[in-house]
Symmetry: C2
Amino acid sequence: MIAKHMKELTESGSAIRAMFEEGKKMARERGKDHVFDFSLGNPNTPPPEKIKEAAIAILQEEDPIRLHGYMSNVGYEEVRDQVAQNLNRRFGTALTREHLIMTVGAAGSLNIALKTIIEAGDEVLLLAPFFGEYIHYMQNYQGVPVIVAPDIPNFSLNLTDIESKITAKTKALIINSPNNPTGVIYPPADIERLAQLLRQKEKEYGHAIYLISDEPYREIVFDGAAVPFLPQYYDNTFVCYSYSKSLSLPGERIGYLLIAPTMDAFEEVAAAAAVAIRILGFVNAPSLMQQVIGRCADALSDMTVYKENKEILYRELTDMGYAMVEPQGAFYMFPQSPTADETVFCEAAKEYGILVVPGRTFACPGYFRLAFCVAKQTVQGALPGFKALMERFGH
Amino acid sequence: MIAKHMKELTESGSAIRAMFEEGKKMARERGKDHVFDFSLGNPNTPPPEKIKEAAIAILQEEDPIRLHGYMSNVGYEEVRDQVAQNLNRRFGTALTREHLIMTVGAAGSLNIALKTIIEAGDEVLLLAPFFGEYIHYMQNYQGVPVIVAPDIPNFSLNLTDIESKITAKTKALIINSPNNPTGVIYPPADIERLAQLLRQKEKEYGHAIYLISDEPYREIVFDGAAVPFLPQYYDNTFVCYSYSKSLSLPGERIGYLLIAPTMDAFEEVAAAAAVAIRILGFVNAPSLMQQVIGRCADALSDMTVYKENKEILYRELTDMGYAMVEPQGAFYMFPQSPTADETVFCEAAKEYGILVVPGRTFACPGYFRLAFCVAKQTVQGALPGFKALMERFGH
């Protein structure tokens, strides 16, 4: 009696849940130290100490009725001011609270942006490989996902295929840089070319094409790589941000939606987004955690462990013969499977206690994703298994 | 360029926002003490001291990576155990964690239930007067709201009209007791008759008809009134609960969805709801606040102020000639407007610094809603204005 569309989702969802269950079962059978779980993007570096101090101070100092009460659906004004100032310092922008809505994480932010702009039948370009949930978010609003082919083997922006997939029905394009699952950061020159293409298509079709930038990994970058700030390249930009990774707070569901000040009909879009957060049932971002962000907008978790893991894994796996792009950011790498069907590889990896995610989950078969937000001993412990797998499957 | 369906919503949304803005403007012009704002359901009694103590203890004691990290989408197992035990103690049920999903408030809970069961074109019965957001929640899933006429003047369950509105397309009925905006609690005998009717219609049409119980006001009851626990009356019941009112935490967005153990295809429904929380973009209920609930599941805010306000307002307003049902619970009352068009009355009330909400917002014109979760001086200060309004409009 559940809705038909949920039936399919529940069955496919169970495949992933089965993997987690298998991981737990493996841990019981082999012992925790013999299971190397690279399946989940759950930060393993703690939040900055400042988060705890701020939360306790707020609980002790603030009037509890105001602290835990309703505020404007778009969030506390002073919190949005702090976030705007942080962005202005870093990007030389002139953002204000008016451009920001505090949200229930980036997933909340993406859903609000989509609810605001998508009508049934509107097409949204997704750039493979991409976070599989985008498809479901799209379907929440009867949007039609249009998948842009991956640019193999570099996983840079596939501008040729993007151009060929834009139609009169294209309403938006979702971009994710640093990218999950590849770790690629799209450089300024490519972003500039994308912006030019979108502007040209907007003109051609006579309506806005929105760029939705999902960027929870903005702060996780290696070797000083810079992540272009998209509102500086393209007018009709939404930025969907989460503090899940930069402050290691994924369970708290706190982030923001930034609506570029240059957006067409800005006032109307901002007003609609403020309604969307309410009617989707979020109502507002959690109040205590909003206030914590207000005090900690400039803080960052220590990302050293991600850099160290990335270096070990990239060096060792490429030495073994795995082909991949070196991640520039995020905490994922996306090697090519040594055997064409990566689900065979991922199944076999379990024999060595290794859990990795098949590329088809990201609309890119033939590859697999490793989330290296894990303890260093997990990385070290998995290396013999990866070596054995390459010997078994490699040519 | 926003979606068409958002255009209308943004415009109607603005009417309510305009009221709040007017309230602020009135406060500036007349002074705060001369504005009597009964428009918002924002608790004015503080959370129990235990909430603050638990939050600080958790922040100090728990591993921050686990505390703020991802957990299962449906919530921490031990928190769901605590909530189940609290319900079992109070209602003699045998609920377990398997029947509960921690949610982003009752609004989140309602959206998850609807996403799980509603297909485009399915009809959902809404019992006027009702919280206006239900219509938008329904439309999120292309459900069709079917409005059951109010039972005037008692605002009890209108079983005759419910029966006449059930069709082969009816998928669910949303019930809200203690009721917003009337304060009415539906007694066990009426609930039993409703359950019988729904069972008969399920049999007649050969499919489940779900009872969705939105009950954020369960704990706010006057003079020992009891609120029937619906899973004990009807198998296919969802309970959508929020701690917003019972613990005065509306800004924190914390609640639960209870799926009755007796529900048809329970396993399938529970699995689909666990997927729905993820793909709607909630992902999970905020982690710190979940853990606070785990330690404070038995706590309650001091509701004395609501009872006092209710008694003063009910006595004084009925003395003046206002006709209404005496609220048995929640913190709302719903008097008849002394003039047929209640929007005229609500506009005129502003001249006396009084803000109340027109009944048509709840699909029940001719009445107006007072939210009495306000300071006692607001109640006292508004009485001369209400008296003047009755003299002006009363016959």
